[in-house]
């Protein structure tokens, strides 16, 4: 092995020791026999940990390798990510607070819990569970593939990378619990986000690349690639339809991916969502600025690389092998933070929505924990097999994963805001959306160069709002009461301090009279 390979292994060993320390601290604070403690962390996450764990789980290895490659390929068209992450941050505030309070009142642990309770339908719960588990297979698989490729790139064994990753994430998600996962995610997220900023600023300010300022970089790109910086960008892919389509898919998925949805139930209080919103915008929207700078430098310095996802490590290898080593350690951390969160979500969804709902309703808590752990290992094994047998189709599957998660957005919106839509609107719309997605992905090519997910979401919206006009769930006492409860809770109607204060005031007023 080369000296760089040894440096990477040393870096991974050092970071691995830090992860084990976090694991130990969280392990001691988790009741491993309690589903609530193991999977929900006692619902006491503060703002900083929550926004960092959400950000780290949301970004994955794609942020460090895929995103620079996408800017490199698409140019300014990819700038939709600056905008969509602000909307996502806002939705964390608008939707997240409501999901949190419902989770707190009704003790929800999975997306299916909320949907089943509001729509009074086991079908929608099962559909959402199947979607949730299915979409995570390729998503986890890609991260494992990335870990293997990272090891291979440094001259080590592909399988050593995959096995190291599996060992670490199994340790955290099967034995550590959500607290261990979230604390480690927070550290990893902070670390790799800070790293991208430091590297980008260093590359611009040190003059090492031959450019003295950001304007020089932009001017050089514009001179050599005239269409790169103007919309729709060099590839021409990000037309307005795809620009907004991508925004919709990513924003809806960002809220509905099971490992993110379940995070909203874990907040300590409503105040936490202010930090989550502002933190996410700083982390995720502005976090793309250094990624853009790296892609621009790559475009000028390494214009003809074949594997665009390697642009960041290759660029660093040109100037600082040590930083390239740190990048691989960061990419490993990014992948790990996503997989273990997804494993936890798969375990929760399987235990609650499949095992407890369909297999063994009277399962003891101990048995539930066992089912969760065994299912996590088995589902991860399926992800590995899926990844290494599906070969070229894995990227297609990852896009299906995001759109599948996005298909849960309208049923969620129905539960929180749109009273007319009932179980039929929710279930049929998800099934129609998923069918359109599969049809346009596997059977025919998506027409007019528009991403198949855009058609899927459009078809779903038509069915959802169309069926709702006939279904009129707003005439049901249950739906009206559910929405009225949300409104009352969000405005402080169940806040003890407000209720007590107003009682005291009225008492004082009465005395005065």
């Amino acid at each position: 092995m080369s000296s760089i390979a040894w440096m990477v292994l040393a870096g991974l060993a050092i970071s691995g020791l830090v992860y084990l320390l976090i694991f130990y601290l969280a392990y001691k604070r988790t009741n491993r026999k309690s589903v609530e403690s193991f999977y929900m962390g006692g619902r006491d996450f503060g703002g900083i940990v929550l926004f960092l764990t959400i950000g780290a789980s949301w970004f994955s290895m794609w942020f460090l390798l895929g995103a620079p490659g996408s800017f490199y390929t698409h140019g300014s068209g990819f700038a939709t990510f600056f905008m969509l992450n602000i909307i996502l941050g806002l939705l964390f505030f608008i939707y997240g607070r409501r999901m949190w309070l419902l989770g707190k009142i009704f003790n929800y642990t999975t997306p299916g819990d909320l949907l089943e309770h509001y729509y009074q339908s086991k079908t929608i719960k099962t559909v959402s569970a199947v979607l949730n588990i299915y979409l995570l297979f390729p998503y986890i698989g890609i991260q494992l593939l990335g870990a293997g490729l990272a090891f291979e790139a440094i001259g080590s064994s592909f399988w050593l990378g995959v096995i190291t990753m599996i060992t670490l994430v199994t340790l955290f998600s099967v034995f550590g619990g959500i607290k261990a996962v979230a604390w480690k995610d927070a550290l990893q997220g902070f670390f790799y986000m800070a790293f991208t900023w430091v590297v980008a600023l260093w590359l611009v300010n040190s003059g090492i690349t031959g450019f003295e300022s950001i304007k020089e970089i932009f001017t050089a790109v514009d001179t050599n690639y005239p269409s790169f910086l103007e919309f729709p960008g060099e590839s021409g892919y990000f037309t307005p339809v795809n620009w907004f389509g991508f925004a919709a898919i990513y924003v809806f998925a960002g809220l509905c991916l099971p490992h993110l949805w379940t995070r909203f139930y874990m907040a300590k209080n409503m105040e936490v969502f202010k930090t989550v919103t502002v933190g996410h915008i700083a982390f995720a929207s502005w976090g793309f600025v250094p990624i853009l700078i790296i892609a621009l430098l790559g475009k000028i310095i390494l214009p003809d690389i074949e594997q665009v996802d390697q642009i960041f490590p290759l660029l660093l290898l040109e100037y600082s092998p040590v930083l390239a080593v740190v990048l691989i350690v960061c990419a490993f951390a990014a992948a790990m933070s996503t997989i273990d969160s997804q494993n936890m979500a798969m375990g929760t969804v399987f235990t609650k929505d499949i095992w407890l709902s369909l297999v063994d309703k009277d399962s003891s808590e101990r048995r539930q924990m066992l089912a969760g752990r065994v299912s996590t290992i088995m589902l991860m094994a399926i992800s590995v097999i899926w990844t290494f047998t599906s070969e070229g189709s894995i990227l297609t599957l990852s896009m299906i994963a995001f759109t599948s998660a996005a298909l849960l957005f309208l049923p969620l919106t129905g539960a929180l805001f749109y009273k007319k839509a009932g179980s039929r609107s929710a279930t049929y719309s998800v099934i129609v959306g998923a069918s359109v997605l599969v049809f346009l992905t596997y059977v025919i090519t998506s027409p007019f160069g528009v991403h198949s997910g855009v058609y899927a979401l459009l078809a779903q919206a038509i069915v959802f709002f169309g069926v709702a006009q006939f279904e009129r769930y707003d005439r049901s006492e249950h739906a009206m009461a559910y929405h009225s409860l949300i409104e009352k809770a969000i405005t402080g109607g169940f806040d003890k301090t407000i209720v007590t204060r107003s009682n005291e005031e009225s008492y004082d007023e009465e005395l005065a009279r």
């Binding site: 602000i86 707190k104 502005w286 600025v289 559910y482 402080g492």
Partner: protein, 85 residues
């Protein structure tokens, strides 16, 4: 702060930040703003303003409340929410 002004502020931000997709005069490189091409500076400028607004909103505008589960569950039961254990 009420919902309505916030809704309009976000809507206007959304229209402005995406305007360069439809208005060619905004989708240009020149003039550079602080070294950044105009179309990108257009997005970052509005994003910067909305970020500051949201920080201000989080600090001073938004109210957070605690939820007393017992009274909420009692309310749910009395008002006909089904599926309560």
């Amino acid at each position: 702060m009420t919902k309505k002004p916030m809704f309009w502020i976000i809507t206007i931000w959304f229209m402005l930040v995406n305007a360069a997709q439809f208005i060619p005069s905004l989708n240009t490189i020149e003039p550079y703003v602080l070294g950044i091409p105009f179309n990108l500076a257009w997005i970052w400028g509005w994003n910067g303003i909305i970020t500051l607004y949201l920080i201000f909103f989080a600090a001073f505008g938004a109210k957070s409340h605690d939820v007393d589960e017992e009274s909420a569950l009692k309310y749910a039961k009395n008002n006909g929410i089904r599926g309560l254990k």
